[in-house]
Symmetry: D2
Amino acid sequence: MSAPGTPTLGIGMVGYSFMGQAHSQAWRTAPRFFDLPLAPRMRVVAGRDGDAVRAAAERLGWDESVTSWQELIARDDVDLVDVCTPGDTHAEIAIAALQAGKHVLCEKPLANSVAEAEAMVAAAERAAARGVHAAVGFTYRRVPAIQLARRLVEQGRIGEVRHVRAQYLQDWLADPQAPLSWRLDKEKAGSGALGDIGAHVVDLAQFVTGELLTGVAGMLETFVRERPVPASFAGLSGEAGEGTGPVTVDDAAVFFGRLAGGGLATFEATRFAWGRKNAIRLEVNGTRGSLAFDFEDMNLLHFFDATDDAEVAGFRRIVVTEPEHPYGGHWWPAGHGLGYEHAFTHQVVDLVEDLAAGKQPTPSFADGLAVQRVLDAVERSSDAGGGWVDIP
Amino acid sequence: MSAPGTPTLGIGMVGYSFMGQAHSQAWRTAPRFFDLPLAPRMRVVAGRDGDAVRAAAERLGWDESVTSWQELIARDDVDLVDVCTPGDTHAEIAIAALQAGKHVLCEKPLANSVAEAEAMVAAAERAAARGVHAAVGFTYRRVPAIQLARRLVEQGRIGEVRHVRAQYLQDWLADPQAPLSWRLDKEKAGSGALGDIGAHVVDLAQFVTGELLTGVAGMLETFVRERPVPASFAGLSGEAGEGTGPVTVDDAAVFFGRLAGGGLATFEATRFAWGRKNAIRLEVNGTRGSLAFDFEDMNLLHFFDATDDAEVAGFRRIVVTEPEHPYGGHWWPAGHGLGYEHAFTHQVVDLVEDLAAGKQPTPSFADGLAVQRVLDAVERSSDAGGGWVDIP
Amino acid sequence: MSAPGTPTLGIGMVGYSFMGQAHSQAWRTAPRFFDLPLAPRMRVVAGRDGDAVRAAAERLGWDESVTSWQELIARDDVDLVDVCTPGDTHAEIAIAALQAGKHVLCEKPLANSVAEAEAMVAAAERAAARGVHAAVGFTYRRVPAIQLARRLVEQGRIGEVRHVRAQYLQDWLADPQAPLSWRLDKEKAGSGALGDIGAHVVDLAQFVTGELLTGVAGMLETFVRERPVPASFAGLSGEAGEGTGPVTVDDAAVFFGRLAGGGLATFEATRFAWGRKNAIRLEVNGTRGSLAFDFEDMNLLHFFDATDDAEVAGFRRIVVTEPEHPYGGHWWPAGHGLGYEHAFTHQVVDLVEDLAAGKQPTPSFADGLAVQRVLDAVERSSDAGGGWVDIP
Amino acid sequence: MSAPGTPTLGIGMVGYSFMGQAHSQAWRTAPRFFDLPLAPRMRVVAGRDGDAVRAAAERLGWDESVTSWQELIARDDVDLVDVCTPGDTHAEIAIAALQAGKHVLCEKPLANSVAEAEAMVAAAERAAARGVHAAVGFTYRRVPAIQLARRLVEQGRIGEVRHVRAQYLQDWLADPQAPLSWRLDKEKAGSGALGDIGAHVVDLAQFVTGELLTGVAGMLETFVRERPVPASFAGLSGEAGEGTGPVTVDDAAVFFGRLAGGGLATFEATRFAWGRKNAIRLEVNGTRGSLAFDFEDMNLLHFFDATDDAEVAGFRRIVVTEPEHPYGGHWWPAGHGLGYEHAFTHQVVDLVEDLAAGKQPTPSFADGLAVQRVLDAVERSSDAGGGWVDIP
C-alpha cells in the first residue's frame, strides 16, 4: 500500500483476455501486499468490441473502457501503457505509447520479428533518454524460486556455468482435435511453441545464468497441420466456425546453443507432452553446484552445493517462502505457497519501484530483443535443415 | 463478477491480522473470477486500536473502520460478520452477530471449549430457523485437490475407508529462542498445535471421508516451556518486552482414533518438525483405492485405483487445475497452479452461493463442534495419561 | 573375499522360503564384494520335507540338506546357525543352537512372546560368556541410508529428538479375497502386521534415535476376519484347501509412544494401504535438524540441517551411494543403486566382522527383546481399549 | 536354477574390472533366481596381469584364469565369450571368438568406430548362419521399468511417438581435479561422454520407441582439457604418475534428432552435472500418452494415459515389482526393489534363453551398429559446427 500523499501512476491496459486478466489481478493486488512508491490507478482498458471491453473493465476493476488503443494512449491520466495483445500489434502500440511519453509494459514475446523488436528497442532508448521506460513481461522471472536461482548464480554458488537444460512442456495440442486459435496463426502469433513458450525458457536461461546465447542449432515441427475451426474463432479471423483450418506455426521446437561463457544449453518447447500441463523446467550445472526448478512445483528450488561434505551433500529442496527469500515476508507465513498469478504481482512491484527510482526496469526491450534474436536464429537454423547459426 | 442488478451482501470483518488479510484478499478477489449471485461489499472492519484499524481498512480495501465489534454488528449495511479474531472471542461475537440477524463466517477453531462451541451451535440453529446462517472457516477444505478427494470418496472410488493418516507439520517453534505470541497463551488461543493446526487435519479427515471420529487416544506435549517475550507482545498481554514467559499450550499432539465406519485414523500436529513449513498431509486407504495429499504440493492429488490392471496401476499424480476439477476453469489454464490464498476465495464463493440459495453453508457450526469434540477428547485422553476417550 | 588362509565359518540355515532365499543370497554374495575376516562356508540347510529341502539346497547353494534342525545343530562343521523359520520355532532352535556352542543369527521378530524372548536373551548371555554370540535379523538397519541416519544422529546433527513418525505400509491384504497364509495364523506368526512389519519400524526408530520407548498406547484391528484357504495352505496347517478360514492376527496396528529422551513417536503398520507395496517410512525431527527416509526410494536419505542459512536451507536429497557412505565403495560407482537384498549382505558382513573380532554383534537378542516388549505393550494397550502401557 | 540334466554353457570372460565384476555377479546369480534352460559354468577369466587375474578369478567365482584372450577363446569348454574390455579391443576379440564358433556377449559401445562395428556385424551374421550368436550389452534395457516402457509402446498405449527426451547425467568429472583414466583417452575409449553414456540413452530411445534415428545435429565439448595423472594410470599408458595429461575425449554431448516415425528426440550426455550421480532420464510423449523414467528411481515407471477421464488423469507412479511386470515374481515380493546389478542378471537370463532356443538374442550387433552410427553422426555434426547429418 502506498502512504498517504504517494504520487499516483495511471495505468492503461490494451487487451483483456488471458494476459489482461493476469495483469489486472496484479495491478489490483500489488498495493495490498507491498508498500509501493507510486500508487497505481487502473484508469482504462482498451479493446475493439465496446460491449465486451466495458464488461471486462467492470469485471477486472478498470475505471473506464475505450475501443481504441490510440485513444487510451492519448489520455493525460495514463502514465503507463500495459500491452496485453497478441504479438503482431506489440510494436505499433508500444512505439506509439513511448513516443507519447508513456511508460510501457509489453507482454512477451516482444515482437513477431527481429526487425520489429529492433524498432521497439530504438524507441525505448529514445524514450529512456527522456525518463520514459519500457519493460517486457517475461513474468516467470518473478517467481521467487527463479529470483533465488539468479541470486545464487550471482553469489558465485554455482561457479561457472557448464550446462543449462531448459524445457517448456504443455499438452493442450496433443489431441489432434484440439481446435484452432489465434496462437496457431502465424500472422497473429508470429510463431508457435517457439515464440509462445520457448521464449520464456530462453529468457529464463539467459536471466538466471546472466549470459547470452551466442549461437544455436534447432528444428521446428508442426505435427498437426489442420485443426477444427471453432465457432469462437470466426470472430477473430473471419473464417467460418466449421471445417478445419491450417496450423501455420510450429507445434514444437528443439534446439541447443552455446552460452557466452562457454556452457552448453539445450532447449525444448512443445504443446504435445501429454500429462505435462505447464512444466517449465530449468536446470543449471556449474563448476561449484547445480540448480533445478520445475514450475509444476513453483515454490521449490533445488540446489546442490558441491562444497558440502560428500557424506551429506544432496540437492536441497528449498521451499522458497521464507522472509529471507525474494518477495518473502510480504505474503503469508513460510510454507503457505504462492501461485501462478503472484509472479505478475511481483512484476508490477518491481516495475513501479524502478519507475519511481528513475531506473531502467528489467527485462528491458533490449533483453526482449536478445530473446527474439535467439528465436530468429532457431527458425533460420530449422529452415536451413538444422545447422548452426551464430547470434550477433 | 456479479451481473448488473445483483443484490449486494454487506460484509463486516472483525480482526485484521493474518486471517483478516487472507479473508480480505478473498472478498476482493472472488467477484473478479467467479459470477457471484450476491455482490459482496466490504463495508467495515473492526479493531481495538483506532489508528491501526484505520490503516488496515485502507490497505485491505474496507470502506470504513470501527473500534468496536458491537458497533460493527449494529450496522444496517452489514449482512455478514466475518470473525477473524483469536478463539477466545469467537463465541461472544458470533452469537451476538447471529442474534442481530447477521450471517456469520467464523475462523477456526470454532471456540476454545466444547461448551462455547455448543452455545454457538445452539445460536446458529436458532438463527437458521430465521434464514440466518453460520459457517466456520476450515479453509483447507477449499483447496481444489481436497475437494477432488472428497468427490472421489463420494463416488465410491476409494471404497470403504480403512485408514486415514493425517499430519500437520510446521517448524516455527523448533528453535527454542522463537518468541512468545498469543498463539502460545492458553487464555487467548485455547490450545496450541492441537487447536491451531491439529483442528485442520481433524476436519479434513472427517470431511474427506464423510465420517466422524467416534473415539480417540492421544498425548500432548510442551517441549519448550519458557520463551523470550518480544516487545510486540507486551501490548497484547501486559507483560514486559523482556525476559521469558511461560508457554501454556501444547507444542505438539499425537493421537489416533476410530472412524464411524470402522477405519483407523492417526493424527499428528506439531510446530517442531524442522524443514516442514506447512506440511498438511492426508492419506486415505480404502477397499478400492487410496488418496494422498500434501499441502507442500497443494495443486496435486495422488490417487491409486485398485481396479486398474496391475501392470499399469500406480498412484496417479493428478494436477488439479483442469476445467473438470473443483473450481477449475475460473482461474488460469491447466497447470498454472494456485496458492494458499485461493482457498479463501473459494470459501467466499461457496459461502455466497449457499447464502443466495438459502442453503446451510458448510462447514457449519455443528461441523466445527464435531472438531471441537475431538480436540476436547484428545485433551482429556492426554490428561488421563493416554487412555481411550469416546466421542459422543 | 577372504585372503588365502582365512579361517572358515561353517553356516547351517534352518528354513528356506522367503527369508531363507534372502539369507542365502547374502552368504553367497558377501565374500565377493567385501574382504571378510572369516570365510563363510554354506554347509547345510534344514527343512522338514526331504525332497523340497534337497532342491532348495541346490538352488540356493548349500552343500547339503537335512530334515531335522537338531541334526544341523549337531554337526561339527556348523559354526553358526541361521534361523529363518516362522516365529513360533525361534526360541527352541536358537536356544538349542547357543547351548550347542553355535553362533546364531535369528530372523525377526525374535520370538512370539516376551517370555520366549527373555529366555532367548538369557541363553544368549550365557553363550556370550563363552564367546558364542547371537544376533537378530532386523535387516533394514543395514540399508545404507538408515546407517547414515544413525550416523548423523550420533554426530549430533539432528540434536535432541523431538519426534519420530514411523510407518510400514503394504497392500497385499487390501483385497478381501487375498488367501490365508501362515502369516495370518497367530499360532505360527505370533502377531500380524504388528509383529511382522511393525517390529521393523519399532526397531528402526529405536536404532536410529539410540533411544528406547518407555511407554505406548495403541490399537490393533483385524478388518477381514475370514479369508479363502488356498490349496498350498493345507500342508502347513492341516486344513482343507477350500472354503475360508479365520484370520487370527491383526491386519493393522496404530500406536504412539514416548522415547527415553522425551520425544514423541507415532507408528503405523498395515497391509491394507492400497498402492503402498513396501513403504517403510521414517522421519525424525530434532532440535537441530530432521531426517526422512522411505524404503520406496531406499537409496535416498533426506536431511534438513537447521544450521544452514535460511536462504538455502532445505531437505537435502542424499543419494547414499558415495564411497563416504556406509558400505560405500564396495559395490558400484556412485548412483548405481542397491536393492532390497543388499541389506542382507551387509548384515552378513557386519556379523562376520563382529564374530571375528569377538564382539557382540548387533542387533543383539536384547535389542530384539526390547522390540518384543514394545509389541507386547501395544497388544496389552489394545486389549485394554487403548490406554497407556509403560514399558519396563 | 537348471533342472538336473540341463546342458551346460561354458563361459569365458575377458576383462575383470567394473564391467567384469557386474557380469560375474550376473553369471553367479541368474541360476539362483531363474530356471535357465542352459546351466552356465564360469570356466575362465582372461587378463594380462597373471597375479591380478588369478586373484580376480577367485574373488569373482571363475574356475580358472589365463593371461591371453586368444587362449581363452581356444578352449573347448568355453561356449560363450563375454567381452568386458575397453572398446578398442572389442572388434578383434569378438570377431575372433565368433570365428572360433563361440557365442559372444560384448560390452557396449560395440566398437570405437563405425568401420569396426560393421566388421563385427558382418562376423556376427556369418556366425549366425552357423547357429553362433552375438549380443551387445546395453544392459539398461533389462531394467524392469524400461522393459515395461517398451511393452506399453508395443501395446499402443502411447500411440505414435512425438517426442523423446533422453539425458544421461553424471558428475564425476565436474571437479577439474578429478584424475585422468582410460575413459578419457580417445585411443582406449573411442569417445567420452558420448560413447560411454550417450550410447546408452541412444539405445534406450531406439529400443523403447522401436524406431531408429534418421538424422541428428549435435555438439561435443571438452570443458577440462588437462587433468592430473594418477599413479595408477601409469601402468595403463606408460605416462608418469605425476603432472597432468590431456583429455582427448568429449566431456559432454548435446544433440537432437528425428525418429523414423517423425518424432523429435533430444539427447544430452555429461559427466559435469553436479549432484546427478547416474541420472538416466527417458521421457516419451505420444499421441495417446506419455512415459517417464529416471534411473535414480529405477524401480519406478511413470505413465500418463490420455484416455483416462480428465478428472482422474495423472502420471501413474508404477512400482515395477509386481508379478505382472517384466522379470516379476523371480525376486522378492512387490515393493522390495531391485538395484543396478539386477539388470545384468536379466541380461544373462534373456541371453541364455535365446541361445537355448536358437534365437538371435537382443540387442544384436546390428542394434549396436545402429547406435554407433548415431554416435558417429553426432561427431561428424559437431566437427562440422553443428549441422544436420543424415543417418543411413
